[in-house]
Amino acid sequence: MINCSAIGDALFTKTQQRVLGILYGKPEQTYYLNEIVRLAAVGKGTVNRELEKLCSAGLLTVSRQGNQNHYQANPNNPIFNELKAITQKTFGIVDIIKTALTPLLPQLSCAFIYGSIAHGTDHAGSDIDLMLVGDEISYGEVMGLLPPAEKQLGRTINPTMYTVAEFNDRKANHQPFIKRVMEQPKLWLFGDNEPSNKQD
């Protein structure tokens, strides 16, 4: 399987990934410098240089509010949608949630994000809808693993979990919820070539 974080590393420096991950991870939100520094956990000078570069290229906008500069992804730049998608798929939301769920990897058959975020219709307050298919996973365990990712992403994550048998049964019976989810766009975390998918 292609490693998405390797793609991110080939294209962008770690600082760029962190900064883009914040601003293009939540494009409708503005952030002030210290906030970005805190979330990115990179030095202020480094972040500042990156922000200046991104602003002068038109990828970010900056507005003065009181005595603070507020930065935001610029939706009017020609590669806004592409950059948002690259961010999500490589070092943004997908990578962050994948990292959080690493301890569950052996039990997971597939995992993906669906709903407004996968659709691209999310807003700043949107929750992340997460589907986990695997055996012997508990909600308690998952809810224990997700908080750091939720904090980093600034969004609540709502997991739905099925065993492989439950998931395949529901797919075979065209259960409305699963049917709708499967027809919608998804951001895959693990197992996008899972066997149950090939039957369609």
């Binding site: 996973i137 909600y139 809810m143 224990g144 908080p147 979990m161 065993t163």
Partner: protein, 143 residues
């Protein structure tokens, strides 16, 4: 309790002195529901409804024992970390049940997986033990 008092300030909670009769009634209601959950032949929808409302009754009983009330279910569940010292991961599971139940009201049908139901029932039983361990309202110290 300071954390809960802060929630009163932002109007998420109200203060209301606890009442033993009400408290006992909530425990009894939850006990009955958790007994009924085990009845043969129930659908998982019904089992979920019973276990969910038992969990809510117990969470509310705990909040009332401490002298507060809220008509917002998610707040009642969120307060469990303080009222019953429930671990975050556990009240978050209840929060998921709450969201699933709300979604069902819009979608007209409840979509519950076996794992969530199993964990909800186990959690509600654990909460029953913890609420009983709070003891009588008259006997509580430092309230």
């Amino acid at each position: 309790m300071e954390v809960l008092d802060n929630l009163v300030k932002i109007k998420e909670l109200n203060r209301e002195p606890p009442n033993q009769v009400e408290f006992d009634g909530m425990i009894l209601a939850a006990t009955t529901k958790l007994h009924d959950v085990k009845l043969q032949g129930l659908s998982s929808d019904s089992q979920f409804s019973l276990a969910y409302s038992a969990a809510h009754a117990l969470a509310l009983a705990a909040l009332r024992w401490h002298g507060y009330r809220s008509d917002k279910r998610y707040i009642v569940f969120q307060c469990l970390q303080h009222t019953l010292c429930l671990e975050n991961a556990k009240w978050r599971v209840l929060d998921q049940c709450h969201k699933r139940r709300n979604l069902a009201e819009y979608e007209g049908h409840l979509e519950i997986d076996a794992q969530l139901l199993k964990e909800l029932i186990a959690l509600a039983n654990e909460m029953l033990g913890r609420v009983k361990a709070l003891g009588s309202i008259q006997g509580k110290s430092g309230a």
